[in-house]
């Protein structure tokens, strides 16, 4: 049975305030380099990661890591 994900209307005050729409955008880009290039052209601060699949793509180790990582 599918668990219905109903949003509890816990008071929004309890959750930390999200400043994404009010702050200056500063992006970390993981994946397609074109996105970072486009942002740089717009003078938006962006860091492009030199990213590789975790544990070199070794599924067993990556799964183990996901259970042990911060």
């Amino acid at each position: 049975m599918v668990r219905l994900n109903m949003m509890e209307f816990d008071s929004r005050e309890n959750r930390p305030k999200n400043r994404l729409l009010s702050e200056k955008l500063c992006v970390v880009n993981i994946g397609l380099e074109q996105f970072a290039a486009d942002l740089r052209q717009m003078d938006i601060p962006v860091v492009h990661l030199d990213w590789k699949p975790p544990a070199g793509g070794n599924l067993r180790l990556a799964t183990l890591l996901s259970k042990l990582e911060d």
Binding site: M7, C26, I30, F35
Partner: protein, 500 residues
């Protein structure tokens, strides 16, 4: 075999040993050089050089603080050349540029170096995307997940975690967003303004943001929530978070929501939340049928009407949309429409318009009321960006050439009376999609069904909307002012042929 040994001493000269070793290595590569050494004249080093057969009587007199240049070569001239080169290299401090641009390997390090980072864009292969998105959230970043192929469980888990941390997850499969006027991924350069958009898909956001911009208004933010956000399982978590954000944003006055038909209970939740907002909403639930809206919301069925309603005015018809003289005429009049779409939501909107006119519609991504292609009579609207067409092939927005085969097929199909295409501009899109289309048509000369296009973009996009329209018109394509208008025009063409 004879050889020449040449030594030179520089008294009291100190050069770092690594620099010296690098110079030696360069000398060894010279023609005729057997061995070379540059070392300070300590007893140990002199012994090394003697053992290597490069030390002459001159070199043996060196003191520990002297620099010894020692070369063994095949003949005197090679030795002298090498010696000159050594002196040269020692004399010029290298202003060699490092080719290395250091980049962080992990989100963690990126954030450590850039503590003001607030958004991660994840576009790695689907199997890794969830893990990266999670790391982003753990590092207090909002996330835009461009990747698709995440499981619904992963999506639920990420959005729950985001909610608990006060962060936003856009996507998965979020191709378009605009934050503070900054276009992200596949997006257009639209006017800034006070209309916010929450969209379940890329091209839905693109079309609405471009139309609103052309209607003289502007966009504050466009938040992509992914195609499954309003499913029963996900329950609209990102949509609700987006409504919170836009409600709190003083720069947003009106909110447009664009989505496919959501699950019933989820609709109720969303409407309840909307009713609590002080701001007016325009809701476009493509194919949802009639619903009763909250008091502060209007429900419309197309992207065009959503844009017009939010902007408060209507799109003007641009130029003459009658069939141009000189445009190729059909030999056999076909009565069906073939739609070849790069944008999934544009395909959905086109289906809805036809269904509203009681037309039979088939599609590979059918909205309620359409059916999958089954060989029976009716219009065929294809989303060419869907999975089955993009396995191992580029997406048609990136490379419009992949649409060409379908175009030729449609042109040669005698049952087809009109072809509708979307030409999508902006970041990420091909640099000249109109030219690609025009070239494909040029090869096909004469008799063909009418091609009707809409151009989703603005004049500020790199491709230039006006330029693209000119190219299309020159190729005999009718250009409608919106995707909805394009399908309507195509319908009027085939109905005319059908005798009304």
């Amino acid at each position: 075999m004879s050889f020449s040994i040449v030594n030179k001493i520089r008294k009291g000269a100190y050069i770092d040993s690594v620099a010296l070793m690098q110079i030696s290595r360069q000398l060894k590569e010279l023609d005729g050089v057997d061995e070379a050494g540059l070392m300070m004249g300590t007893p140990a080093n002199l012994r090394i050089m003697a053992d290597a057969g490069v030390l002459s009587d001159i070199g043996k007199t060196a003191a520990p603080n002297d620099l010894v240049i020692a070369i063994r070569a095949r003949n005197p001239s090679s030795a002298e050349t090498a010696l000159k080169k050594a002196v040269d290299l020692l004399g010029s401090p290298r202003a060699r540029e490092s080719g290395l641009v250091w980049r962080p390997n992990t989100i963690r390090t990126a954030v450590a170096e850039h503590p003001q980072a607030n958004l991660a864009i994840v576009s790695v292969a689907g199997e890794y995307a969830a893990a990266e998105a999670r790391k982003a959230l753990r590092n207090n970043l909002n996330v835009m997940i461009f990747s698709d192929n995440l499981s619904i469980e992963e999506e639920m888990s990420l959005k729950q975690e985001a909610r608990d941390s006060g962060l936003l997850v856009m996507g998965p499969d979020c191709g378009t967003a605009i934050i503070g006027g900054v276009p992200l991924a596949f997006a257009n350069r639209v006017s800034d303004g006070d209309i916010g958009i929450i969209g379940a898909s890329g091209t839905g956001i693109q079309e609405v943001s471009c139309l609103i911009s052309r209607l003289g208004k502007g966009i504050s933010h466009a938040i992509g929530v992914g195609g499954r956000d309003l499913s029963l399982e996900v329950g609209g978590m990102s949509t609700l978070a987006a409504i919170d954000l836009l409600d709190e944003d003083p720069g947003t006055r009106h909110i447009v929501i664009v989505s496919k038909p959501p699950a019933e209970q989820v609709v109720a939740r969303i409407f309840d939340r909307i009713a609590q907002s002080p701001k007016p909403f325009t809701i476009c639930l493509l194919g949802a049928g009639k619903k009763s809206a909250p008091a502060n919301a209007a429900i419309v069925s197309t992207l065009k009407s959503a844009s017009e309603h939010a902007a408060g005015n209507k799109l003007r018809v641009e130029g003459d949309l009658t069939v141009q003289s000189g445009a190729p005429q059909m030999k056999t009049p076909g009565l069906t429409i073939r739609g070849l779409f790069a944008g999934g939501t544009l395909c959905a909107e086109a289906q809805i318009v036809l269904l509203d006119h009681n037309e039979p519609v088939h599609s590979n991504v059918p909205v309620p009321g359409s059916s999958l292609p089954d060989g029976k009579r009716g219009h065929l609207l294809l989303d060419l960006g869907a999975d089955e067409y993009t396995r191992g092939r580029p997406h048609p927005m990136i490379d419009p050439h992949v649409r060409n085969d379908f175009l030729i097929q449609a042109i040669e199909d005698t049952a087809v009376g009109a072809v509708v295409v979307d030409v999508v501009l902006g970041y990420g899109s091909h640099e000249n999609p109109a030219a690609v289309l025009a070239a494909a048509l040029a090869e096909h000369g004469d008799a063909r069904p009418q091609i009707v296009a809409s151009v989703c973009g603005t004049d500020r996009d790199i491709q230039g909307r006006r330029t693209q329209i000119s190219l299309l018109k020159d190729a005999g394509v009718l250009v409608a002012e919106s995707n909805a208008d394009a399908i309507l025009k195509a319908l009027s063409i085939v109905r005319e042929r059908d005798g009304g």
